[in-house]
Symmetry: C2
Subunit: 152 residues, 2 copies
């Protein structure tokens, strides 16, 4: 997929960190979203379900903050999940602006399924790296993310 030309050295810019990063991420993203697509789900769905499971029912705004999903995208995703009976929307009695979103039993089962496949995908993604190298990589990435996340 990335083969330059028959027996030709790759372009210089293919050694730039930003290129390596975005391309590797593209592969990772493809692996993950293919996995999800096979289960008729998307990344947003998994993030929402997992976050509800971990932190409990929440308003769409809170969910948006925890999942790093835009409020405007939240609406559609919740609709899709609700249509499949994986989450439920109920009004917040203490604040009539809000919907309280909660997972259903079917949602939890779906989450378990998606999670299992996701874990398997991590292994496929990191296949060529040793355990130690995997930790190195995640450590470095986490530091980058942390650095750029703090200042905004």
């Amino acid at each position: 997929m990335d083969a330059p030309m028959p027996d030709e050295p790759p372009a210089h810019w293919k050694r730039l960190p930003s290129w390596l990063l975005t391309q590797t991420a593209a592969h990772a993203h493809r692996l993950v979203s293919d996995t999800f697509a096979a289960a008729d789900a998307r990344g947003y769905h998994y993030r929402i379900l997992a976050t509800l499971d971990e932190f409990g029912p929440a308003s769409q705004a809170d969910l948006g903050r925890r999942t790093a999903i835009h409020l405007s995208d939240m609406v559609g995703s919740i609709n899709e999940l609700a249509d499949q009976g994986l989450v439920e929307r109920s009004p917040d009695p203490s604040d009539r602006r809000r919907n309280i979103i909660s997972v259903t039993g079917a949602g939890l089962r779906r989450l378990k399924d998606l999670h299992a496949q996701l874990v398997r995908t991590q292994d496929e993604l990191l296949a060529p790296l040793s355990k130690r190298e995997r930790e190195q990589l995640t450590g470095l990435l986490a530091r980058l993310l942390d650095h750029h996340g703090r200042k905004e």
Copy 2:
């Protein structure tokens, strides 16, 4: 931008390699494309100019293979670059199907400019890492990319 909630631990899935990778890449992509956008350019433009500079004039099909840009997207990008006088399209006398694309002087100047900014962006991206850690990171990423690139 990634702040979960006021004083709340991040969700478990935010430690997954695929998440760290795609999010870091998203930051990188934003940094890079902002840089390019400020110069009224896009990633495709840089890739094309740099590849022409490095390997010389080529047909659009060859360019597509070297830059990993789809032929269908090639057309529009070349149009944009040609409109700005950065590249030139001329017919290939030995094969009338082909256009031969070549960089102009203005194109080379633009490339130099974009490249300088791109290098600066790499530094911003990797700011929290030492020189040694940067090499570790790029080494690991390159191995992942290589691994996943070979088998298809």
